[in-house]
């Protein structure tokens, strides 16, 4: 399973991650964060393929992706 964590207070709602997600798996929130801007949310963690294109794009290092397989691999080393 993949964990898609978007720090809603770091996120400024620029929408760049949404544009690049190959699974169209990110969208803008309806409500606003404490700074008054909408923020990106993951539609379904199940759909995420952990390609990390969104993290590469994000100007605010608001997104972290944890992929079980990777984590396990690392632990095996």
């Amino acid at each position: 399973m993949t964990e898609v964590k978007i720090n809603c207070d770091r996120c400024k709602g620029c929408g760049l991650c949404i544009v690049v997600c190959p699974k169209k798996n990110l969208k803008m929130s309806n409500d606003l964060n404490q700074f008054g801007n909408p923020y990106a949310v993951c539609i379904s963690e199940d759909e995420c393929i952990a390609c990390c294109l969104c993290t590469k794009m994000c100007p605010d290092w608001a997104i972290t992706i944890k992929d079980d397989k990777t984590v396990n691999k690392k632990q095996n080393v």
Partner: protein, 243 residues
């Protein structure tokens, strides 16, 4: 990589940049590369006067400010004192090419063994959107309200062309931040430049077209389109020098 965690080298602080600003991406790339090179403890950066003036709030290693445009001189002073540290400047287009043009040209000509990360956003961000040396022909800014008139104030200045002829300049590249692919390419340029510095080869610069949605008066997404459709015609990407 199928996992992404923010590198330790980036601080927690929420940046003061506008939504979608290229500075954030470029900061991250510089941080990731230095992290991956294991050089956090030997890195010394020089921040510009420009939107990135407080880059040191985000980059978690030793850094210096520099008076507007003088970052290459400050970096020279640092590098000459500590030749084995990884010394770079991070500068905007006003800082680097307007007020700081002399310091740039001479640091380059001397072949100071430093790296310049040049965030070219075609505008003065920090001061509210005035014309930069790199502002495109016809582009409207606060100080070109009728559009930049190349007959009056000239065409955009190309930093890479300016430096290309200097023998002691060993690496020149220009990247963009319009897609994960381009971002990864830009990241490789950054890595190459810093490695060249580690090898003591001389002066290197990576220019990055950095979107300024605010003063381009575009959404972040449109700003990226604008780069791909327009800006790169003036400022093409690639490696322009590698010795």
């Amino acid at each position: 990589m199928t996992t992404y965690t923010v590198p330790e080298i980036l601080n927690e602080a929420r940046t003061h940049y506008c939504a979608g600003c290229g500075h954030g991406i470029l900061h991250r790339l510089v941080a990731e590369v230095i992290d991956e090179m294991g050089q956090r403890e030997s890195a010394i950066g020089v921040a510009p006067v420009g939107c990135a003036v407080i880059a040191y709030e985000y980059l978690n290693f030793d850094m210096s400010e520099a008076a507007h445009g003088r970052a290459p001189a400050v970096a020279t002073g640092i590098k000459r004192s500590l030749p084995d540290r990884l010394v770079f400047t991070y500068q905007g287009d006003g800082d680097l090419l307007a007020i700081g043009c002399t310091e740039l040209v001479h640091a380059a000509n001397r072949g100071e063994n430093i790296t310049i990360f040049f965030a070219n956003n075609n505008v003065y961000g920090m001061t509210g959107g005035q014309m930069a040396p790199t502002t495109l022909d016809g582009q409207k800014t606060l100080t070109t309200p009728y559009g930049r008139d190349p007959k009056d104030v000239g065409h955009p200045i190309d930093a890479i062309k300016l430096l290309q002829n200097f023998d002691n300049v060993v690496y020149l590249a220009r990247g963009i931040l319009t897609s994960p692919k381009e971002i990864m390419k830009t990241k490789r340029y950054i890595r190459q430049a810093l490695e060249i510095q580690q090898q003591g080869k001389g002066f290197s610069m990576v220019e990055v077209i950095s979107q300024c949605p605010t003063y381009w008066r575009m959404t972040p997404v449109n700003a990226l389109k604008h780069i791909e459709e327009t800006v790169i015609n003036q400022f093409p990407t690639g490696i322009f020098k590698e010795l």
